[in-house]
Each structure stands twice: as structure tokens, then as C-alpha cells.
């Protein structure tokens, strides 16, 4: 006698499955996911997406046919009272050949565009591209623009409509740089450079994160990709290339800002964080950090509250991060926040 729970479960299974499917479909829409790969917004990403949709299409066809055959067989050949003994067939050579050739053909339909796209995306862009050097660190990303003499961190600023060429490496362990909206990903190695390029089609501020396990804070090693119109990018670069403002000599400056500037030296921040546009140190470059959209490697919105929280106790948000707790008092933190905010 079949177990009542078993029967009830099997009875409800279709309804439950339907409910789950409805939820899944609702959760499917890519537009609610800012890191989605399904809304390509650059040439490279479109090529990758085209291959994805091709393989998804064939996979769906095969899925429907094969799972359909399975379900049909289960229904049609289930044991029923009075059923005859089945024919003891051992195989069929023709069938074996047919169902070897057809999948081979389908795979060829995927293989040809694949190989074409591999070679297309492997071709490095020409000299008109904007060059960016991307350096992974535990647990933040550094961006250098050799043509512009700029070093920054946390946010990759790029012009839309112009090819950007990324030459990427790491200063410690393996990481992986990913632009889900614009290009795929590439792992970064300590002893060489890997290359990725793309031409953004839209402007916007997009989230992304490291995709190669790199230690304790791999989960909070994020960054932003900020695409802007070429004129806006040029303006950003020109503004960035200004030396850091010295508030100590400025009589009109907020005293809190001046105090912050003094603390930035006195408390040793300057030992790890450069404020100069072209100078990298062991920590993220903080030039114009005041106007970045995010801090703490793309994991916190750049509000005064978050900046204070981060400076007060970085270990609380990102345990194991290389920035120590400096044991700062509240008023010292406020001053530093004001100073960094003024640095735009």
C-alpha cells in the first residue's frame, strides 16, 4: 500500500513545480540584476552574448526532444496489467550511427561561430584605443592610464564609444577582472599581462566584482565601471591631473578639512594611500576619492556615514583587509571624512 505522504507529495508535485517555475520566471528578468551578463552593452559582450544565445537555443531544442522522449517512454512503456513480455532487443546499429551524427552536426553549428569569435576577440585593438593598466591586489583594483599619467583605484572610468584596451596583472595572487556588461573576464597573473578590450555603447555606473578566489575577502573585492561621454571623460581626466589641494594655506577652508589634512599625515594614512594623481602606493590611490560613487573596493556607497564607518574600523566591514584599525577618536574620523570629501 503506497505511503500516504508519498502519494500526497506526488499529487502536489506538479502544482509545486508550477509555483516554483512562476517564481523563477519572475526572478529571471535580467534588468533587475545590475551585474547581469544578459544585457550586453559593448561590442565584445555582444559577440559573447551571440554565442551564448546560439548554444542556449540548441540546448533548449535538445532538452525538449530528449527529455520529451524520456517522459514519453516512461508513460508509453510503463508496466500495465496484462502487458506482454517486451521484445528482448539488444540494439540497432543504424540508430547508433544516426544519433552519433546528428549531435555531431549540432556541435559543428556551435563550433564554427565559436572558433570565429575566439579569433575575433583575440585580436588586440589598434593604437587608437585608450590604454588602461589594471592591477589586482588583495582586495581592491588599481587602474593606471599610462597615456594620461593617471593612477586611481576602485572605479574604472572609461569613455563610451571608444575602444578601451585593458592590460591586466596582479600584485599578489590570482584575481579575475570581469566586466559583465561590456566584456567577459580574464584572470590576472603575477608574472605577465592579460588583455581584454571593449567599446562601451552606453553611459552609466555599473557594479562588478573579482571572480577568482583570492583569499579571505574575495567576496568583497568589488569595483565600479563608470562609462561616460568622451567629453565628460576628458574633463574628468583633466580635472584628475590637478595636484592635491593644500587646504592648510587656504584661509577660507573649513577648519575641519584642515584638521583632516593634518591627520592624514600625522596618523600615517599617507604611508599607504597616495593623494597624487600619478603615484601608486601599497594602498588604493585616494586622489579625488571624495567624488567616487563607492569606497572600500566598491562595496560601500560613498556617503559620509560609510566613509566614517570604514575609517573608524575597516576590519568590522572587511575582516582581514590590510588596512588596520588606527584607533581613531570620533572627532578625528569626522575631520578625515571632511578632508577626503573635499578632495574632489
Amino acid at each position: 500500500m503506497s505511503h500516504p505522504t508519498g502519494r500526497r507529495l506526488a499529487h502536489w508535485a506538479p502544482a509545486l513545480t508550477l509555483a516554483a517555475l512562476v517564481l523563477l520566471v519572475a526572478a529571471c528578468s535580467p534588468d533587475q540584476y545590475p551585474q547581469t551578463t544578459l544585457r550586453p552593452r559593448a561590442d565584445y559582450a555582444r559577440d559573447a552574448d551571440a554565442i551564448f544565445r546560439l548554444t542556449l537555443g540548441w540546448a533548449t531544442v535538445v532538452f525538449v526532444l530528449v527529455e520529451g522522449a524520456l517522459l514519453f517512454a516512461l508513460y508509453r512503456f510503463r508496466n500495465r496489467p496484462g502487458a506482454a513480455d517486451p521484445v528482448q532487443s539488444h540494439g540497432n546499429t543504424t540508430l547508433e550511427i544516426v544519433w552519433t551524427i546528428i549531435p555531431a552536426f549540432i556541435l559543428a553549428m556551435i563550433a564554427v561561430p565559436t572558433v570565429r569569435t575566439i579569433f575575433k576577440t583575440a585580436t588586440k585593438p589598434g593604437p587608437e584605443a585608450l590604454q588602461v593598466e589594471v592591477i589586482g591586489h588583495q582586495w581592491w583594483w588599481e587602474f593606471r592610464y599610462p597615456q594620461l599619467g593617471i593612477t586611481t583605484a576602485g572605479e574604472l572610468m572609461v569613455p563610451s564609444g571608444r575602444t578601451v584596451n585593458l592590460e591586466m596583472t596582479t600584485g599578489d595572487v590570482l584575481h579575475s577582472f570581469w566586466l559583465p556588461q561590456f566584456a567577459g573576464k580574464r584572470d590576472v597573473f603575477p608574472n605577465r599581462y592579460n588583455n581584454l578590450w571593449f567599446k562601451a555603447e552606453v553611459e552609466g555606473n555599473f557594479p562588478a566584482q573579482c571572480v577568482e578566489f583570492c583569499g579571505i575577502q574575495h567576496g568583497r573585492m568589488a569595483y565600479r565601471i563608470v562609462s561616460m561621454k568622451p567629453e565628460a571623460f576628458d574633463a574628468w581626466a583633466a580635472n584628475f591631473n590637478q595636484p592635491p589641494r593644500d587646504f592648510s594655506a587656504d584661509t577660507a577652508a573649513n577648519p575641519l578639512v584642515k584638521q583632516g589634512q593634518a591627520l592624514f599625515q600625522a596618523k600615517g594614512c599617507v604611508g599607504c594611500h597616495s593623494l597624487y594623481p600619478a603615484l601608486p602606493l601599497i594602498g588604493p590611490n585616494l586622489h579625488h576619492v571624495g567624488s567616487r560613487s563607492h569606497i572600500a573596493a566598491g562595496t560601500l556607497e560613498n556617503t559620509d556615514e560609510n566613509l566614517a564607518k570604514w575609517i573608524q574600523n575597516p576590519q568590522a566591514w572587511k575582516e582581514g583587509v590590510l588596512m588596520p584599525n588606527l584607533g581613531l577618536k570620533d572627532d578625528e574620523v569626522h575631520a578625515l571624512v571632511a578632508y577626503l570629501r573635499a578632495n574632489q
Binding site: 508519498g6 547581469t36 512503456f77 540494439g91 547508433e96 573579482c210
Partner: protein, 606 residues
């Protein structure tokens, strides 16, 4: 009948009981049960690790566990499930079934067999002892250099990992030698290779894969271990080493490893489907050759795990095409399994439900695998939850479903009791629902930007809803295992009176009592066809009588021995001396124990 000069001692004619008889057993059936029970416990441990992971991921910015604990959890979950779960569960079936299906009395090297088990147990315990030190491995199950070098992983975590896996490797290699030789040399009189049960064929191919791939991971682990312990620079860039060397070595092992994980399950399903469809396996020769092809080509696809490393377009294209080619024999197997059921008379016993579930889920996992065979698409998918979805569909939906089906199928043979069919169906449906609810949404999360191996995610990402569904699914999965364990407990209390052949089986293990006597067959069977038992039944007019238990007088079985365990302890202590640096006294003690164990083993009477 004249007795032979070597009389059986009374201890062998009756099944010995008690703890000492299990510690000294060299009987493949007992060793199989030891493997199964131990592996199941490790599997539950891996499952608990997964549940904690799922609870942590149920909320954005959760602080249920610290980042380091999380990294230890996912590393140990993967390592446990692969090396302490699926592989030894497959070993349970190799052990129990291969001699029986071949019509043999035991494996070729019974004491080596026991040695493999003890090494597995000790290795598994050693790697888990790390939890007590708060230093469980935390570099991922794949342990990529240069994160795992001493500079970036200064603690003992990675030492436990390299040492533990080397010990487990010894177990796997010893077992592979054993089953390889058993299959080649100990088949029943008349049984040709192309007449062996499909489970034995798939296991045979698995042993070859083990023999060829485990040395590679051993080399990789030794190189990493000496980098960490003696300051060599194989993977340290500042010394001229290259982290990518680790990836090549690891995946040269790692890809054949996934076929090691799945081929035994292919074999199990190939046993269950014909019996419950009442017709033979469709396309036996095609199944053998596709298995051989998969194993062979499986050594040529390793760098599809490395598409994001920038190997260049020619390497990417080669490995992409090789990976797609492997899909062809895999498809052939799937079609032959459907062909087995086609035109049959299908009985939906629990074992059959799991075999069908395997088929349905493995098809899905295989298709997502083909999707990442293409580098341009894979460069979005790799290192995201899309990959996590893929391999759970093939390893859980594939291997675990098949291994579970095998349990329901062979339980009566192993223990003389049937598992309850109704509870079995509850188990199956809960597992189907829980499994799909847990792992299907991962496809969506991966494509929408959720990376792997992250201990949390932001509110802004919107990953919360699907993660919560997955956590709910994992809880349903946990309940399904509770039902299974209840089934085992409930039916254990019945007396062992299961018939020899409850399912109308096709293979020789069903021709002897349940559970079998220590010598397996009173007289070695004479075989001339596939599906030997179906043939015997046909020849006898449709059925054979219930086999009776006999005295077994005159049959010499190998003596039990304590020395495989001693030797296993020797191996563990010797290698364990590398944890936290090289400790010479520990190495010396270990070698001394090992030499004592091996010497005694070599000179004791067989």
C-alpha cells in the same frame, strides 16, 4: 569428496562477528560496507557544510559565519563531497559488486583492499582534524597557486589539504591496481570482456583513469608541499615559478577526475534500467566504446577549466573543440539508456525512480556543460554560479541519484533486508524537488552576475530572492536524507530474510543468497553470454531455485589480517609529519610503522 591438504579452519566456515573481525577483515563485501558507511557519514558532514553555506547566503551581508570560516566551509564541502563522498561511495560498489558480478570469490589482492580502506578512513579523519585546529583547508578544493603558497597562506590549512589528499591518493591508487587486476584476471570461466556486466566495464575504465590521473595530482601536491615546506619555487613567481603550472597539473588530473566520479554511476544506471524495463541494455558495444572514448578524450580537454587564463586563441579553440567532441559519446549513452526503456515494461520501483531521475538531471547538466564548452560564452559563465549549477546537476543529479538508486537496488543483497518502498518514494520526490529548487536557480544567478566562492553579496545585486529559494531547497534536501536514514533504521530491525533475487536480476550477484556467504559462490559459475543470470534462467525454463546456504567446507578464503591497518597508520603518520613544516621524528616513526606493517604483511600466511 576428498578434502584438500589445506583444511579450512572453523573460523572461516561461519561468518565471524565482533569489532576485531571488522578491523582485520579482508573480505571484499565487508570492506565494501565499511567504505559505504564511512563515506555516507562523510557525505553527511559535507552536507552540513553545505547547509551552513546556504544559511549564510540566505541574506545579503550576512554575518552568520566569518569570511574565513566560510572559505573553509566551501573548501571542505567540495573536497569532502568529491574525495570522501562520491569516490568512496563508488568504491563501496566496486568492492561489493565486482567480484560477485565476475563470479569470483574476492578481489585479486584482499589485504591491499583492506589497506585502501584504512588509508581512506585515516586520510579523511586527518583532513577533518584540521577543524579542531581552526585551520581547515581554505584555498578552495582546487587550491590554486599562488594563493596557496606559504606567503599568502601561512597557516596549516593548506598543509592539511596537501597531506590529506596525498594520503587519499595512496588509497585510490592501491584500490585501482586491485580492481584492474581483478577484472583482467578473475573473471569466471568463459566470461569474455565483452560479456561483463556494464557496471564492471565502467568501473574498469574508472580504474584506468585513476591509475593515469592520480600520479599527476600527486606530483602537483608534492611540488606545492615542498614549495611550502622547503622553499622551492615551482609556483612562486619571485623565484621564477609560475602559478599557471599548478592549474595545468591540477586540471590534467581534475578533468579525468570528473569522469572517475561519474563513470561508476553510468555503470549503476546501466544495471538498474534493464532489470526494471525487463529487457537488456540497449547497445552494449556502443556503451563500452563510448565509455572508452570518453575516458581517452577526457585527457585532452583539461584546459576548458582555464579559458579565462589567456592561453591564446589556438589553445582556446583546440580545447573547445575537444570538449564538444566529448559530448557526442555522452549523448550516445543517454540515447542508449532511453533505448533500453523503450519498448520495455517499466516497473517504477524506488531504485528505478532514482535511475530515471539520474537520466533526467544528467541530461540537463550535460547541456549546460556544452554551453560552457564555447570560450566566448564561457568567459561570462566561468567562475559564476552558472558553473556551480552545471556541476551539481551532473554530480548530485547524476552521481548521487545513481548511487542512491544503487543503494535501494543492492540493499537486499548487501544486508538481507529490503528498504521500504513507500518511504523510498517519499525520499525520491523530496530529493527531486529539493535538488531542483536548490540548483536550478543557480543557472539564473550565474548568468545575472553572481560569482562563485563569495561569502556574501550586496543588497543592490538583487541576488537575495533566488538565494533564499535555494536555501529552502537545501533544507528540503536535508529532510530527504532524514527520510532515507529513517528508512534504513526502520528496516534494519527486521530479520534478514530477503530473497536472493528480489528484482529478477540479470547478473551473477543475484544467483547467491542475500547476503552472500563469505566465499560468494559454492562453485564458480560457468559463463558464456552477457546477462549471465537471465541466460541461466532461460536455460532452466524461466527461473532458477532459491540458492541454499552451504557449509563452504574445502573452500580456502584469505586469512584476516591486522597489518593493512598498521601499514595504513604508517602511511598517515609519515605524510602527516609534513603538516606545519617537516617534522623528522614523525616521518621516522611513520616509516618505521609502515615498514613493520608491510614486512609482517609480506610474511604472514595467506
Amino acid at each position: 569428496m576428498a578434502t584438500t591438504a589445506i583444511e579450512q579452519t572453523p573460523a572461516h566456515s561461519v561468518e565471524a562477528t565482533g569489532l576485531w573481525s571488522w578491523i582485520t577483515t579482508v573480505d571484499h563485501k565487508r570492506i565494501g560496507i565499511l567504505y559505504g558507511a564511512t563515506a555516507f557519514l562523510f557525505f553527511l558532514l559535507g552536507g552540513i557544510e553545505a547547509l551552513v553555506i546556504r544559511l549564510q547566503l540566505a541574506q545579503p551581508n550576512s554575518t552568520l559565519v566569518s569570511p574565513d570560516t566560510y572559505n573553509q566551509l566551501f573548501t571542505m564541502h567540495g573536497t569532502t563531497m568529491i574525495f570522501l563522498g562520491v569516490m568512496p561511495l563508488s568504491a563501496m560498489y566496486f568492492n561489493f559488486l565486482i567480484p560477485l558480478q565476475l563470479g569470483a570469490r574476492d578481489v585479486a589482492f584482499p589485504r591491499l583492499n583492506a589497506f585502501s580502506y584504512w588509508v581512506f578512513l585515516l586520510g579523511g579523519l586527518l583532513i577533518n582534524v584540521s577543524w579542531l585546529f581552526g585551520a581547515a583547508p581554505n584555498g578552495g578544493w582546487f587550491g590554486y597557486a599562488n594563493l596557496t603558497t606559504k606567503q599568502f597562506s601561512p597557516g596549516m590549512n593548506i598543509d592539511f589539504w596537501t597531506v590529506g589528499l596525498q594520503i587519499l591518493g595512496v588509497a585510490s591508487l592501491a584500490a585501482a591496481v586491485n580492481f584492474f587486476v581483478t577484472t583482467v584476471n578473475l573473471r569466471a570461466p568463459g566470461m569474455k570482456m565483452m560479456q561483463m556486466p556494464m557496471f564492471v566495464w565502467m568501473s574498469f575504465i574508472t580504474q584506468i583513469l585513476l591509475l593515469l590521473s592520480f600520479p599527476i595530482i600527486t606530483v602537483a601536491l608534492v611540488l606545492l608541499m615542498i614549495d611550502r615546506t622547503f622553499g622551492t619555487h615551482f609556483f612562486v613567481p619571485s623565484g621564477g615559478g609560475d602559478p599557471i603550472l599548478w592549474q595545468h597539473l591540477f586540471w590534467l588530473f581534475g578533468h579525468p577526475e570528473v569522469y572517475i566520479l561519474i563513470l561508476p554511476s553510468f555503470g549503476i544506471v546501466s544495471e538498474i534500467l534493464p532489470v526494471f524495463s525487463r529487457k537488456p541494455l540497449f547497445g552494449y558495444a556502443a556503451m563500452v566504446f563510448s565509455g572508452v572514448f570518453i575516458a581517452f578524450v577526457g585527457f585532452g580537454v583539461w584546459a576548458h577549466h582555464m579559458f579565462a587564463t589567456g592561453m591564446g586563441p589556438f589553445a582556446d579553440a583546440f580545447f573547445s573543440l575537444a570538449t564538444m567532441i566529448i559530448a557526442i559519446p555522452t549523448g550516445v549513452k543517454i540515447f542508449n539508456w532511453i533505448g533500453t526503456m523503450w519498448g520495455g515494461r517499466i516497473e517504477f520501483k524506488t531504485a528505478m525512480l532514482f535511475a530515471i531521475g539520474f537520466l533526467g538531471m544528467f541530461i540537463m547538466g550535460g547541456l549546460s556543460g556544452v554551453m560552457h564548452a564555447s570560450p566566448p560564452a564561457d568567459l561570462q559563465q566561468t567562475d559564476t554560479y552558472f558553473i556551480v549549477a552545471h556541476f551539481h546537476y551532473v554530480l548530485f543529479g547524476g552521481a548521487i541519484f545513481a548511487l542512491t538508486g544503487g543503494a535501494y537496488y543492492w540493499w537486499p543483497k548487501m544486508f538481507g533486508r529490503m528498504l521500504d518502498e513507500s518511504l523510498g518514494k517519499v525520499h525520491f520526490w523530496l530529493m527531486m524537488i529539493g535538488f531542483n529548487l536548490t540548483f536550478f536557480p543557480m543557472h539564473i544567478l550565474g548568468l545575472n552576475g553572481m560569482p562563485r566562492r563569495v561569502y556574501t553579496y550586496s543588497e543592490e545585486s538583487n541576488f537575495k530572492l533566488l538565494n533564499q529559494l535555494e536555501t529552502l531547497g537545501s533544507l528540503i534536501l536535508a529532510v530527504s536524507f532524514l527520510v532515507f536514514m529513517y528508512n534504513i533504521w526502520k528496516t534494519w530491525r527486521i530479520k534478514a530474510t530477503a530473497p536472493a533475487d528480489p528484482w529478477n536480476g540479470a547478473t551473477l550477484e543475484w544467483s547467491i543468497p542475500s547476503p552472500p556467504q563469505v566465499f560468494n559462490f559454492p562453485a564458480l559459475p560457468q559463463v558464456s553470454t552477457r546477462d549471465a543470470l537471465w541466460e541461466m534462467k532461460r536455460a532452466a525454463g524461466g527461473s532458477v531455485p532459491e540458492p541454499q546456504r552451504v557449509s563452504g567446507k574445502g573452500i580456502h578464503m584469505p586469512n584476516p589480517s591486522f597489518y593493512p591497518l598498521v601499514a595504513a597508520i604508517g602511511v598517515t603518520v609519515t605524510l602527516g609529519g609534513f603538516i606545519g613544516g617537516s617534522h623528522l621524528p614523525v616521518h621516522i616513526a611513520g616509516v618505521a610503522i609502515l615498514l613493520f606493517g608491510v614486512y609482517s604483511w609480506a610474511f604472514e600466511p595467506a
